[in-house]
């Protein structure tokens, strides 16, 4: 009788372990960012976020009024400065047109087709952030009906903030660059004089609030404060989006390569309005 009980006890341990593994596997599948939302999920999400958006509207209105007042005061100061600079605008305009022409010619020569076009921006408002604590995602009020697709890059005026990972009809979820996702590697280039040094943005240092760029030769000298932008290599981010500026350069543990710390100008704690790059690339 005792032996039988012991045997059953052993089986229970194995069964419990197997159930635990199955549950973990299912959870991995559920939490995976590549999972597409089902129609029912999309519908419920859209309805829930619509209710939430309506409840948030009065708060948002007051917030906007305060911001508008601040902006107006700031604009008046800027207006005074601009008045002085307005004379040089025509000159800059002509120069800009010339540069644009040159860029187009160069694109033709180099057969580059992964450059942003002018009409590929879509502005969106952040309607959710911080929820779920660990996920480092925000929800924006533009979805597949507005032409948003998974993997589209999302930026603010200070630089890149992340990419779209899920879309429903009227909302999308954006995964921030600050997340610890191991698959979140981005090819970047660091401006070094007239040249660029290529590297791979692999991680975000939560403690120092800097991005870590690896894959850089030990013998290369990098100036602090150099501009870091995306390279356009890879499937997700087009070339030339600002990531940040170099804040520190150090060597890795084996003295074989350099590790560059990049400080972003984006305030990831205060994201209210973002821009989605719809990636309508200029086809040659």
């Amino acid at each position: 009788m005792r032996r039988k009980r012991k045997k059953i006890g052993k089986y229970w341990v194995i069964i419990a372990f197997l159930v635990f593994l199955i549950v973990l596997g299912l959870l991995y599948n559920i939490i995976n960012d590549n999972r597409k939302l089902t129609i029912v999920e999309s519908l419920i999400k859209d309805t829930g976020l619509f209710i939430q958006k309506s409840a948030y509207a009065p708060v948002k209105f007051v917030q906007q009024q305060i911001n508008e007042y601040r902006e107006k005061r700031k604009m008046y100061e800027e207006y005074k400065d601009m008045k002085e600079k307005v004379e040089s605008v025509e000159l800059l305009k002509a120069k800009n047109e010339e540069l644009e022409y040159q860029l187009k010619e160069m694109q033709k020569i180099l057969e580059l087709n992964n450059v942003l076009s002018k009409d590929s921006f879509l502005n969106a408002t952040v309607i959710n952030r911080n929820i779920g604590v660990w996920y480092d995602t925000i929800t924006i009020d533009k979805g597949s009906k507005n032409g948003v697709k998974v993997d589209m890059p999302v930026i603010v005026k200070e630089g890149l903030i992340g990419k779209v990972i899920k879309t429903s009809n009227f909302n999308s979820t954006v995964k921030l660059l600050t997340s610890e996702d191991i698959n979140n590697k981005i090819s970047v280039k660091i401006k070094n004089g007239d040249d660029y040094i290529l590297g791979l943005l692999v991680n975000y240092d939560l403690k120092n609030k800097v991005f870590i760029v690896e894959g850089i030769d030990q013998n290369v000298e990098i100036e602090p404060n150099s501009l870091v932008t995306t390279t356009g290599l890879g499937d997700y981010f087009p070339s030339g989006i600002i990531v940040g500026r170099v804040s520190n350069v150090r060597t890795d543990n084996f003295d074989l390569a350099k590790i560059v710390e990049v400080k972003s100008n984006v305030d990831f704690d205060q994201l209210n309005f973002v821009t989605i790059l719809k990636r309508e690339v200029e086809q040659q």
Partner: protein, 163 residues
């Protein structure tokens, strides 16, 4: 009263999450706190209470986190924790604050461990502790204020509740 507490908590969580900076000392988890606040209104009907926890979990999953069934599972576990603590502790505002604290710590530890086990996050004890401390202040304060409000309403309208 139960629906009122859940709806208000969920709406407030989504609104405050937009107003408060991401890494501030106030990380709202009001939906979770609502599970603590609604328990006395079930008058020892534990099955219904756990069903409600599951529903709140599913809504939380669908609307906020895209992780279908993940929070359902966690919210049921938290529901069980709340149920067992309520057997030991009576229902007053100090105990509600204590239960809220235990629930939030349990929730954050379980979710973080699961996310670490499946490779979504790398384990960092310092980060876990700092997140827990950030979450506690606002949520305990919320549970205290909301407990007082709902207690007054329930007494005024004579809504059945265990103490």
């Amino acid at each position: 009263m139960i629906i009122f507490i859940i709806c208000v908590s969920m709406l407030l969580e989504s609104i405050t999450s937009n107003l408060i900076p991401l890494n501030s000392f106030f990380t709202p988890l009001f939906s979770l706190v609502s599970l603590v606040l609604i328990y006395p209104y079930f008058a020892n009907n534990d099955t219904n209470y756990l069903k409600t926890c599951a529903i709140v979990g599913v809504i939380y999953d669908l609307v906020f986190t895209n992780t279908l069934f993940f929070n359902l599972l966690i919210f049921i576990i938290i529901g069980l924790v709340i149920k067992f603590i309520n057997i030991v502790l009576s229902n007053n505002f100090i105990n509600v604050m204590i239960i809220t604290m235990i629930s939030i710590i349990t929730y954050l530890i379980i979710t973080y461990l699961i996310l670490t086990l499946i490779g979504y996050k790398t384990f960092n004890l310092q980060y876990l502790v700092s997140t827990m401390s950030r979450s506690l202040i606002a949520n305990i304060l919320y549970s205290f204020i909301f407990y007082l409000i709902t207690d007054k309403i329930s007494k005024k309208h004579k809504i059945l509740k265990i103490d």
